[in-house]
């Protein structure tokens, strides 16, 4: 593959997705990456360091992945782009699932690891921004404030549904369906308003 550093980050995402943040062991991570534990420390200083960098890595990868989708599918209308972007996470592709599992784990653990919070807040804000833009395109008549509120609800719902799906108490198809309906409901709300 690429350089060792990247290999370690990939291994970290994979391991976190499989065992959780609490279950991430430095030696296991090293083995997964095919390097020695010492090298992990050389590149990332300590455990907190890999966590921070892994969150960064996952965020970037999710962004790349989402952008890739948009390009492949060709130009479509805002409404369809919105669905595409909000439903992406619920696809049952291994890579997507790994990313969102790891993401969910890191998000949860950020509550008690202040170091991760800034990165996390930024990623969350970016999601809201992107959703707001697409919603505004889909429904130009609506107030900015209302569009933002809708975007906040949709992204928060997405995370809530994802948490349930990862917990195994909600099937992916059902999550997708609920998400799709929510988009419909919010757009209808923005339409009928005044």
């Amino acid at each position: 593959m690429t350089d060792r550093r990247t290999a370690i980050l990939e291994a970290s995402a994979r391991t976190i997705a499989r065992r959780g943040v609490r279950g991430l062991r430095m030696d296991e991570l090293a083995a997964e990456a095919g390097v020695s534990t010492a090298l992990v420390y050389y590149h990332f200083k300590d455990r907190a360091g890999i966590l921070r960098r892994t969150l960064e890595f996952i965020t970037d990868r999710a962004g790349r992945y989402a952008r890739g989708q948009h390009d492949t599918e060709g130009p479509t209308n805002p409404r369809e782009l919105l669905e595409l972007s909000l439903l992406l996470e619920f696809q049952d592709l291994p890579e997507v699932r790994e990313n969102s599992t790891a993401w969910g784990e890191l998000r949860a653990s950020a509550i008690f690891e202040p170091e991760l919070r800034e990165e996390l807040a930024e990623a969350g804000a970016a999601w809201i921004r992107q959703t707001t833009e697409l919603l505004a395109l889909a429904q130009p008549a609506a107030t900015t404030a209302e569009v933002i509120s809708s975007a906040e609800r949709l992204t928060a719902l997405r995370e809530g549904l994802n948490a349930r799906r990862l917990g195994g108490i909600l099937r992916p198809e059902h999550a997708r369906e609920l998400m799709r309906e929510a988009i419909e409901v919010e757009i209808a709300h923005l339409t009928t308003r005044r």
Copy 2:
């Protein structure tokens, strides 16, 4: 207070809310409860045991708390009861905050601790049931299927908003506002339908 066993469970909820599941240390828990570590093991067998029982304890306490609210506020209409029940978690009372922080933590860790999943799924289902009932009362004309979907979205949104609030990237008042609007939007949706 009551018996030691309960004291340990209370201490566990408190400690998980403060340090997270990952940060829960048997000796710290024991100290918090004012007992020896050995006693914790005597009552709960092992670490997984306290986690399981703490989840159970928190679920019960949340239920008691919610019911208490309803009684105190006196009989109101379904719509108001619905708001009350869905907004309860976002109040900034220490006890409520502790409960929902610990709950969020346990939910997140359940992904990797199958033992917790059953309990968790049941609690989630109970929330959906209760919300469905209140929604159906508030909007008797709607289809059962549609009401259930709305309830699923509202409860998932509640969890998503709560995760953000706990992560410190969403203020409680704003969470409440978004939740309140979501109820409005969903009820409007159920009304206009056919």
